[in-house]
Amino acid sequence: MMADERTNGYKSGSNLEKVLRAGYFAATGELGPPQSADPQEIVHKAHLLKGVVDAVNITDNQTAIVRMSSIASAVLVMSQGLEPTIQMTCRDRNRLAIQSDLLGAYALGARNLLCLTGDHQSFGNHPTAKNVHDLDSIQLIRMVRDMRDEHRFQCGDEIKGVWPRFFIGAAANPFGDPFEFRPYRLVKKVAAGVDFIQTQLIYDIPRFREFMKRVVDTGLHEKVYILAGVGPLKSAGAARYMRDKVPGMIVQEEYVTRMDGAVAGIPKEDKKGRKEAWQREGIQICIEQIQEIREIEGVAGVHIMAIEWEEAVRPIMEGAGLLPRPTFPAEPAPAEAVG
């Protein structure tokens, strides 16, 4: 790879890239922006995750519900000393809008980017909207890679001056169908230029193990960092909902049983007691999952999704023995930085 003085030989120079490159078991989190223009919600959530994870994904109109923009939220997150990973979907923007937003995001200091297809708008609060899908996620990865490594826009024009250098991520769903296609899809994402992968929430470790075996057999784990997606279950009902209602998700029966067992003996009227018992068990299951997943060959870290329950991430990280997080000496500000 061509060295770049702006990033000291790193592709982007982001904290997440440094953690992974140094061989640490990485941990990323997730932060959902508010359905309002309130910056305080982001500041509050950022404090719950600061020093706990290496970078935090900022969702992009997640589940097709309008929220504060990922890039604007990322700037607020950075102001709190936490590194963001911008999420960008192909649902809401065409290639012009995506490139222009990414130039802006880089100029504002963002360095990690997750490239996604995007949930269909029929799931969200504007089901009559027109979608875009000018590009798919693999074409998006290739476009961002070319902006970084070839200094070219998608059309082929040269980017004169500062080009955006993102650490490029993508999602993978080891539980989606056709199951046999999934490793191919990963091969394509790697060929398109992805640097790291965050998987869909895992509640079926045997199937994930099988997926990872195929990944390792083809040597893909040496070309891309794979972060396994985990998340604490909030209640037995939540486990059932994910098992029965969420597309592309498989939940093993064992987790539903354990969540049911967590409230055994607590009367139904004791709502607080049941909630706390469920939360303790949800966090405990998540800790055990991380420990189990960490032993699987080829896994470079975990991506902890605790949307609207950011408080859970610290006890999970502590319980899994992943704190404190590695830090790196500050580097001189890049030449193009403002101020």
């Binding site: 979608n131 798919d136 074409q139 056709p178 296609f181 191919y184 091969v187 592309g248």
Partner: protein, 226 residues
């Protein structure tokens, strides 16, 4: 073929407004085959309009006509004289037919009685499915004869999204996942390796995104006199 679906009687009544003398014009091609706007449907709708307007206390005089193809001048031109007798014309053709009527007979308003739905086929009796989006740049040669532009909810070109499960689309379990079908066909033909090739961003300028399209074939054009 072009598949259409009749608008509700209520919407049609609203569109017709104060018109007292109406001609319902069907089309003998695609919309006849999909049971939406042929001679038979014209008859049924005309009866419904007569009854509804009578019940509403403002009886409407409704006549019927069906032409072989409402999208060709030579078939609609013979209607010219007849249209003079009506306040409004209601077309049960696709959107092309409705526009052809308005373009040809500028002094009469032709209203749409159908919603033109998609380009598709009757999968079986009573079931029509979309198959083509007329994107102007056919990729069926690289997707094993199954079109992800028309049949994938996100028009993906490089494989299924994470929402494909048990062969169906996350948007609706009634929609087969196009990429599941493509994968199965590729497997059947022993050519899954071909799906590893990264398909570049599509040239949408050949689709509607490039503006309204036209085809000029000078070899077919007739010399016009002075």
């Amino acid at each position: 073929m072009i598949v259409g679906e009749q608008k509700s009687l209520e919407e049609i009544m609203n569109l017709l407004g104060d018109a007292r003398k109406v001609l319902v014009v069907g089309c003998g091609t695609c919309v006849t085959v999909c049971f939406a706007g042929g001679e038979k449907e014209v008859g049924i709708l005309a009866s419904a309009l007569r009854m509804k307007s009578k019940l509403d206390g403002h009886p409407m005089e409704v006549d019927e006509a069906t032409v072989q193809r409402q999208c060709e001048w030579e078939y609609i031109d013979p209607l010219r004289e007849r249209l003079q007798d009506y306040d409004a014309v209601l077309s049960l053709a696709c959107g092309i037919g409705v526009q052809a009527m308005n373009e040809r007979f500028a002094d009469r308003v032709t209203l749409p009685g159908l919603n033109t739905t998609f380009l598709g086929l009757p999968e079986k009796q009573g079931l029509w499915e979309e198959r083509c989006q007329a994107c102007g740049d056919c990729i069926l040669g690289i997707t094993f004869g199954i079109c992800p532009i028309a049949r994938c909810s996100k028009q993906l070109l490089n494989g299924p999204c994470g929402g494909s499960q048990r062969g169906v689309c996350e948007v609706n379990p009634d929609i087969p996942c196009a990429w599941q079908l493509i994968w199965e066909r590729a497997t059947q033909l022993g050519q899954v390796e071909r799906l590893l090739e990264i398909q570049p961003p599509k040239n949408w300028s050949r689709s509607r995104d490039g503006g309204p399209r036209k085809i000029v074939r000078e070899d077919l054009q007739l010399e016009t006199g002075e």
